[in-house]
């Protein structure tokens, strides 16, 4: 049978749409010298700022995988001896604890099961008791390995009312789920290779004035991860190092696409497609990783592999049928499959492709599902 390129339906890196690939292939100038590069960088900052309710002077986009932003947030806000409240319902939540120690911080971890969400009331109790000395709080918005989305607005409200600084890993949600820094986020970190449909290589940070002031006090002295060097780069007319023009061109193209569609339309689309995928998973008789449907992230759906089957075999068969889906990481490795619906793939066509490939792969493994019923369930979920 004729084969076409398989769809990348993983929870990042994602499918890179042709418009974005072509933006990367545009002729470049010298970004250190060309004022037009600064203009494009500034336009990108402006769209990000309006997307997350901030001012463009608070937006930094630098060259590095998103991990560089997570570490930078910690490095710039934590001094030796500081206690840090690490809120976690998963692998990336836990990871913040590992980033804290090298900078002399002491992580105090509030951990809930990966199938659950952080609970605002319990977070308040934690901050008032075990973590009462913590100046900084860290959390993850969307935990991709388990496919959950925390209630960032409520948690941020609690953190702020308790007078702490909040660092949020929004790498897998930014651009697909509403995030507003006015909820009380001091450093918001986003990555390029998830909903924005770019390759890895750019980190987005939205830094509150309070966080910048605290960074001045902390006075982190490293260079590459130093957020203070990025304050007012446009006004200074100079970046700390040479920026990556093709990646900024790609980012701007992606942000323009989001802006043209409208932020709330984009979020509704992700929500609808996600609802559809959840219904499709249910129609296949599979169990979601998140304890309740409403815990599931609009950008990724995670579900258990049917008993006795191999996640690798299912993924290989699905790829043969035209869709690359993912396994999972950490304690969920081997037990869980995941489908990303991020940006370009948060669409009916992409998910019909991915779900058909998955359903056929399950059938190949001896787990019987009727493909048509799965697609019907998906479409009903989208329309609901």
């Amino acid at each position: 049978m004729l084969t076409i390129d398989p769809l990348i339906a993983t929870p990042g890196p994602t499918e890179i749409p042709q418009r974005i690939l072509l933006a990367m292939a545009k002729r470049t100038t010298n970004p250190d010298l060309d004022p037009d590069f600064f203009r494009r960088y500034d336009e990108a900052r402006g769209i990000i700022a309006s997307m997350v309710g901030s001012s463009k002077d608070n937006v930094v986009v630098w060259v590095g995988e998103a991990m560089s932003g997570l570490e930078a947030a910690v490095a710039n806000l934590i001094k030796a001896g500081d206690k840090v409240a690490v809120l976690s319902n998963g692998m990336f939540g836990d990871a913040f604890a590992d980033l804290v120690s090298p900078y002399g911080g002491s992580p105090i971890i509030h951990r809930v099961n990966y199938s659950e969400l952080l609970d605002p009331d319990k977070v308040r109790v934690f901050l008032r008791n075990e973590a009462k000395e913590a100046k900084v709080v860290t959390m993850v918005h969307c935990e991709t390995p388990s496919g959950t989305l925390n209630n960032l607005k409520e948690i941020a409200g609690v953190v702020k009312s308790e007078g702490r600084l909040l660092i949020v890993d929004a790498v897998s949600s930014i651009g697909g789920v509403e995030v507003n820094t006015a909820w009380g986020i001091d450093v918001l970190i986003g990555g390029s290779q998830k909903v924005l449909n770019l390759p890895s290589g750019l980190t987005i940070m939205v830094i509150s004035n309070e966080a910048w002031d605290e960074a001045e006090r902390v006075n982190y002295r490293g260079f590459y991860l130093n957020i203070r060097l990025w304050r007012n780069v446009i006004e200074k007319g100079e970046f700390p190092y040479t920026h990556s023009e093709p990646l900024i061109n790609a980012l701007l193209e992606s942000l323009r696409l989001i802006n043209e569609e409208g932020f709330s339309n984009v979020y509704m689309r992700h929500r609808a497609v996600s609802r559809g995928v959840v219904e499709a998973v249910r129609a296949m008789g599979l169990k979601l990783v998140p304890e309740r449907d409403e815990y599931s992230s609009p950008t990724v759906t995670a579900f258990y592999v049917p008993n006795g089957l191999s996640d690798v075999a299912i993924r290989e068969a699905a790829l043969k049928y035209g869709a690359l889906i993912a396994g999972s990481w950490g304690v969920l490795k081997g037990r869980v499959l995941r489908i990303g619906h991020m940006g370009y793939t948060a669409s009916v066509n992409a998910m019909v492709t991915a779900l058909t490939a998955l359903a056929k792969a399950l059938n190949d493994s001896g787990y019987r599902v009727k493909v048509g019923d799965v697609i019907e369930a998906f479409l009903s979920g989208v329309a609901a």
Copy 2:
């Protein structure tokens, strides 16, 4: 008059050839999951290894501007209290001193004028006296702001015979000038946006086994700049974070181009074109920044702006005539102009364009040169 895209003749970022732009625009998969990505990464490592006389297991390519590699070399080899011998004949040489202090190191600087080169005998005396306690030595191969190229082979020989670890910033030379780690280089750092004609975003490091062992002892605990996490990534089948597939595709294309031409042919081409540009500068009656012609780097030529003229006005006029050339930085800002001949632009056609534009720009500024004589001098230099 018909205008075409101006040539980017700056000492990085450089012109990105169409073959490389198109490599960046290729359809991507998920680099975390696709074995073919690991194969391409490994092929790139292999070409780099044969280019610099190392083994591919010692080659790391990560996501970050080259500054990330310079800082990482220091962070991983220096412990609090360590003394570091900083050899410098320019701005980037000096910059190592600033990178050392945040990691608790004490820089001991051996500085010579930016128009001169490091002298092996003086370096030996320095290492035996002022810097006798320094475990690590840093130096820059090509100082772009002044356009000089240090004699890396001889200096490395001295450093090794004195039993120290050597960190070399080869960001602006790698791929255009012979560099062999067997001369005695422990961490060699290269960047993507210079001779390799990629955008910024990738850092190349070639790490000796001794350096990796020392990094184990130093036990730097940060994440993003931690070189230990990159040892044997191919064998582990996992990168510390998601790699940038389009940039690796572009790097591989660039390395294949270099490999096809042959390393020594590439170096001879840079040397010849550089000789031509030096002769052209002389024919214009301008003064090179390097004290002697033979100090000048095969990848960049730096020369003083004629008395009373504005570097900005000359650059703007040259751009109008179809070539973007650069000013300089630091103490040379405003006084110096630079032409990069790196990779793609280390060619007769590119330099005829750049030199014609410069000569016409000088004429516009009232500084009379005969364009034809400049081009004749250039071609004679190339053929010499």
